[in-house]
């Protein structure tokens, strides 16, 4: 018997404030796979991901994490989550180490100090994202790309089997993207599954096992990343082909090559 898929989304519809946002979507993240969820702004990508990790309810269909319905899923340490536009900076200064330590919560008992294993896991995660020499610095001093790496380290600190990231590449500089590409390759080699929302795949393109494209809340493509760009679906790709013009919108101010 094979292990259940880390993420199994079947025929899921989600409405937000009465408005349908995701319609009958299917998506699977297999063990050790790297799945990219693509689509333009407002296509329902984040909504689908947030429902899958249990942050918002869904109306119909089924979502299972490691074979357990998401509502009953308790093995929280198996998921490393990196929210959209999350920032390592809050109202009070915190070191990178302190922020990453909160990624250990699902593994720590209700009360008590951090153990040696906790501290080692945190140091390892910070090392993996290439910020070991900054671990004791205030997170506020980091660039956007470095902060995103801190958020990913927090996701990894719990020793997850599935890393779920909502636009981890948004605003991330070239150097950080290269660090992440090496990191993700390492994770995939060790059997960790990755599910990520992205606009641009950039340096990660060659790592993607499967691309899933959402358009107006519906899955319009599931398959290899290359196949999606090359075949007739190219006109759906948010960054290829010409933009579709909405009725009533003039071409004034639109650059036409």
């Amino acid at each position: 018997m094979t292990a259940p898929d880390p993420v199994a989304i079947r025929d899921v519809s989600i409405a937000l404030a009465g408005r349908p946002v995701v319609r009958r979507a299917d998506l699977t993240v297999g063990t050790g796979a790297f799945v990219a969820l693509l689509g333009s702004n407002g296509s329902g990508k984040s909504t689908l991901m947030r429902a899958a990790v249990g942050l918002i309810p869904y109306q119909s269909g089924s979502i299972e994490l490691f074979g357990t319905p998401v509502a009953d899923f308790t093995e929280r340490q198996r998921i490393g989550y990196v929210p959209q536009k999350s920032s390592a900076v809050a109202g009070v200064p915190s070191t990178i180490r302190e922020v990453v330590m909160s990624g250990r919560l699902a593994r720590r008992p209700f009360i008590g100090l951090a153990t040696r294993a906790d501290r080692k896991a945190v140091d390892d995660a910070i090392e993996l994202v290439g910020l070991a020499d900054r671990a004791r610095d205030s997170a506020a001093l980091l660039s956007g790309g470095q902060q995103q790496r801190v958020m990913i380290a927090r996701g990894l600190a719990g020793g997850c089997d599935l890393l779920v990231m909502d636009e981890p590449l948004a605003g991330v500089d070239q150097h950080s993207q290269e660090v992440l590409a090496v990191l993700f390759q390492k994770l995939l080699d060790s059997g960790t599954s990755i599910w990520m929302i992205a606009h641009e795949l950039g340096t990660l393109r060659h790592l993607i096992d499967q691309a899933v494209v959402l358009q107006d809340g519906q899955v319009v493509y599931t398959g290899s990343e290359a196949g999606y760009v090359d075949d007739h679906h190219a006109d759906h790709h948010p960054h290829l082909g010409s933009p579709t013009r909405q009725p009533g919108v003039t071409t004034e101010g639109v650059w036409n090559p």
Binding site: P93, G103, A106
Partner: protein, 281 residues
């Protein structure tokens, strides 16, 4: 000075206030809810008046009413589609109006509430002091003991929820802790000034620190020094203790600010010296 019992009581109460207010205040500042303490202070006034009306110790009624108010603020924020600041405003005014109305019903005037609005630390009774001590210990145990969870909830709610942390429960816990803290500080600095001791020491400390842990510790130290020194100063200068404490705390803030600016620019220069940082724009 220490031979007077009222001064012994006052200094002990000031010590408790100085330690507890920044401990919980740090979480409020981290959540960007710095004014929550002020809102709860207003609600506590209704509690005080209720105590006067029903001939109960006002600290007890204030703890109960302000805790209910704090929970109401959290629930309004979570379910009522009301933004945090509007939820606060609703309770600000309800609290003040309720307090004055209830005092009127008890046959008193608003002037009777002065001791609670601005503090009356030298008139604190042994029962009050005992209550303050017990509540302060509870606050410190919870605020420091559950620090990992409270930190995670205040830092990033979504991540905490996916990690399996019952975020709503902890949000309510933080609000109730703030309510209890307000009541502890009520006799020392008064309900109108309590928020200052929750926020000013934290704002001062974070100019010098880079970690959450040291921010909490330093804020508690600054709060304690300001509270104890404030009571002592007020004894010799013959001023009201509450405002004296707050002015001292603000004075420390003003003194520390230029040092903080210097430290930060030095740290920025050092951070910029890392080769990879230069690649980041």
């Amino acid at each position: 000075m220490l031979s007077f019992q009222f001064m012994q009581y006052a200094l002990l109460a000031a010590l408790m206030t100085g330690m507890t207010t920044p401990a919980i205040g740090t979480y409020l500042v981290q959540r960007r809810l710095a004014l929550l303490g002020d809102g709860i202070g207003h609600i506590a006034l209704t509690g005080v008046a209720l105590g006067v009306l029903t001939h109960t110790t006002p600290i007890i009624t204030a703890v109960i009413v302000s805790s209910i108010g704090a929970i109401a603020i959290e629930l309004l924020r979570a379910y009522g589609h009301t933004s945090g600041d509007v939820a606060l405003a609703l309770l600000f005014y309800g609290g003040i109006a309720g307090g004055v109305l209830l005092i009127n019903l008890a046959g008193g005037t608003a002037a009777q509430l002065n001791g609670y609005l601005f503090g009356a630390i030298t008139t604190i009774s042994s029962t009050d002091l005992l209550l303050v001590l017990v509540l302060a210990v509870v606050i410190l145990v919870v605020a420091l003991g559950l620090a990992p969870q409270l930190f995670a909830v205040c830092q990033d709610e979504e991540h905490a929820r996916v990690s399996g942390v019952p975020v709503r429960l902890y949000s309510i816990l933080i609000a109730v802790l703030a309510a209890v803290t307000v009541t502890v500080a009520m006799r020392t600095v008064g309900l109108l000034l309590v928020s200052a001791l929750m926020v000013v020491p934290v704002a001062t400390a974070q100019q010098l620190t880079r970690s959450f842990k040291t921010t909490v510790a330093l804020a508690m130290a600054i709060g304690t020094v300001a509270a104890v020194a404030g009571v002592t100063t007020s004894y010799f200068a013959n001023t009201q203790p509450g405002p004296t404490i707050v002015v001292l705390a603000l004075g420390v803030f003003v003194l520390v600010t230029p040092i903080g600016t210097m430290l930060r620019s030095r740290r920025n220069r050092r951070a910029a010296a890392y080769p990879e940082s230069r690649l980041d724009v």
